[in-house]
């Protein structure tokens, strides 16, 4: 590759002519428009999947620390099921296999399926971190809570979880950044996100290096923004004197 050709992003996706101002008009789009829309899809998939993963992962992680054997078993089974199957295979199972077995699922858009697939996969990892966070607290904390007359849910709500969640913020940060990068599997089920954009646009324009650099930059910015946000959150929620919280 000789010289850079950043003009490629200003090209019209129909005939490859350079559009002034880089934004298409009247239904035509440029590669830059497409790049931004692809970024939007990547962020939507990631953020929705992160919400699914945090909710389900926390619930399953908590279940695994309860005294009830049935609930622990449920949490363990959930975690091992979604942790031991490769992500891409899970996505294909949701997209091709499950709808073949349950026909009504065919009507579900692939966006929802990939959010669920990515969310469930990540929930297994978050469940493991939440469990580890709760178990890192001394047993006395739980006993003290129960001895104070709190019910078990109240003990979790007011004693265990406030500390456990503060402890697991660093691994949760990694997981949240991972979900941005893992969202690239969505291209396999026809979500027009950054990876699909890169594969497609570099083929159409023959300027692969510029396209991949731009996409790499956007992935980095997205993941790094999450990193900064979580760091801010960690500092903001720190309680002096609490475990892991001394300033």
């Amino acid at each position: 590759m000789s010289a850079w050709d950043w003009q490629v992003f200003c090209k019209n996706t129909l005939d490859g002519s350079v559009v002034a101002g880089c934004f298409g008009s009247g239904g035509d789009i440029t590669y830059f428009d497409w790049l931004l829309s692809a970024w939007g899809w990547t962020l939507s998939v990631s953020i929705l999947a992160l919400v699914v993963a945090l909710l389900l992962g926390s619930v399953m992680g908590i279940l695994r620390t309860t005294p009830s054997r049935g609930l622990v078993l449920l949490g363990n089974a959930w975690t091992e099921l979604f942790r031991n199957i490769p992500l891409l295979v899970q996505i294909f199972l949701w997209y091709h296999v499950v709808p073949a077995l349950i026909p009504p699922l065919r009507a579900v858009p692939s966006f929802i399926l990939v959010v669920l697939g990515l969310g469930l996969f990540t929930s297994a990892r978050i469940s493991e971190q939440v469990r580890a966070g709760i178990q890192s607290l001394s047993r006395g904390q739980r006993m003290a809570g129960l001895a104070m007359g709190f019910t078990l849910p109240q003990t979790y709500r007011y004693v265990l979880l406030p500390m456990a969640f503060r402890i697991v913020i660093p691994p949760l940060t990694s997981e949240s950044m991972n979900i941005i990068k893992n969202s690239s599997v969505a291209f396999a089920v026809s979500i027009s996100e950054l990876t699909l954009f890169a594969l497609q646009a570099q083929e159409e324009t023959s300027r692969g290096i510029e396209i991949y650099l731009a996409v790499t930059g956007l992935y980095f910015i997205s993941a790094f923004a999450i990193n900064r946000f979580m760091l801010w959150l960690e500092g903001h929620l720190r309680v002096p004197g609490m475990i892991g919280g001394g300033k």
Partner: protein
């Protein structure tokens, strides 16, 4: 003693002169092949009958067979006792960079010869002319692109078919949803499972996938040709000696009718792995390319 050293000097000079003369005769890829006794062929894992793997790191297909013959001729031209052919799988993303940096010497896959690529690489005379078509389920009743309004249309990520589709979409005022499969098998699965109503792709890939389907009679290729693309063997840019060697070998095959026989073997006879024929007779455009060998880019075909 003095004479002796003169003699040595003379011999050394003589040696320099002859090697310089040889280097002038042989340049670029031909010199590389002569010096190393080896050549690296870029091949595809799954490009229909043109180039595909049969497992165990072995590759076959129409273009692979042609390249093996071409390299046989090159070996004769260079008077090499033995030529070691290495096979390097490439993808549509890396084939051009790998050609430019010298990892592969000749690419025998399914690369469209277009003007944008001609800035980076060079192409041998066109050996196959591809027509982009539409495959649908036989019972769908769809016979042309106009009927695709509001339907889901599958195509494969990283192929130029999407672009043609987009142009037609705007041109014909037809509005459809694009669904992308991650590879051809995946796109065909979209059609088979009903997630897509049509699959737009190179005719030979459609024919190949239909031939391999559980029930080939369920599918058919319909409608107008969306685009015509010359598919060629790719070589490095600015290497006229090697291009001439490759072109001469191919032209000889076109003239002798050998080309048609090789085509027949890969497109009309049963081929591995499924041992089923693709069943795609050489198109008029392909036959025309054989009758008048040329390396014109796709843009010249569109003008016609």
């Amino acid at each position: 003693m003095k004479q002796m050293s003169k003699l040595v000097l003379g011999l050394a000079l003589g040696g320099l002169v002859t090697s310089a003369a040889l280097a002038q005769e042989l340049t670029g890829t031909l010199k590389k092949i002569k010096d190393t006794g080896a050549v690296t062929m870029g091949v595809r894992e799954s490009s229909g009958g043109l180039s595909f793997t049969t497992g165990d790191g072995k590759f076959a297909g129409f273009h692979v067979a042609l390249c093996e013959r071409v390299l046989g001729d090159v070996q004769k031209q260079l008077k090499l006792a033995k030529l070691d052919i290495k096979y390097q799988p490439v993808t549509s993303q890396n084939r051009i960079p790998l050609m430019q940096n010298g990892t592969v010497d000749i690419e025998c896959g399914s690369t469209t010869n277009n003007a944008a690529r001609q800035k980076d690489v060079s192409f041998a005379v066109t050996t196959f002319v591809e027509e982009v078509r539409i495959a649908v389920k036989a019972n769908s009743g769809i016979t042309s692109i106009g009927q695709l309004n509001g339907k889901n249309v599958a195509t494969t990520t990283g192929t130029t078919s999407v672009q043609h589709l987009r142009k037609h979409e705007r041109g014909a005022g037809v509005n459809f949803n694009e669904v992308y499969g991650k590879d051809h098998a995946d796109s065909f699965l979209l059609l088979e499972s009903g997630r897509a109503d049509a699959f737009v792709m190179d005719g030979q890939i459609l024919a190949g996938n239909i031939a391999k389907a559980k029930n080939p009679a369920d599918f058919k290729i319909v409608g107008e040709t969306l685009s015509v693309e010359p598919i060629s063997i790719m070589i490095r840019k600015d290497d006229p000696a090697f291009k001439k060697a490759v072109d001469d070998s191919l032209k000889a095959m076109m003239k002798s009718g050998e080309m048609g026989k090789v085509y027949d073997k890969w497109f009309m006879q049963p081929i591995p792995p499924a041992n089923k024929p693709i069943g795609l007779a050489a198109s008029e455009a392909t036959k025309a390319a054989w009758a008048n060998p040329n390396d014109k880019p796709m843009e010249d075909y569109a003008k016609k």
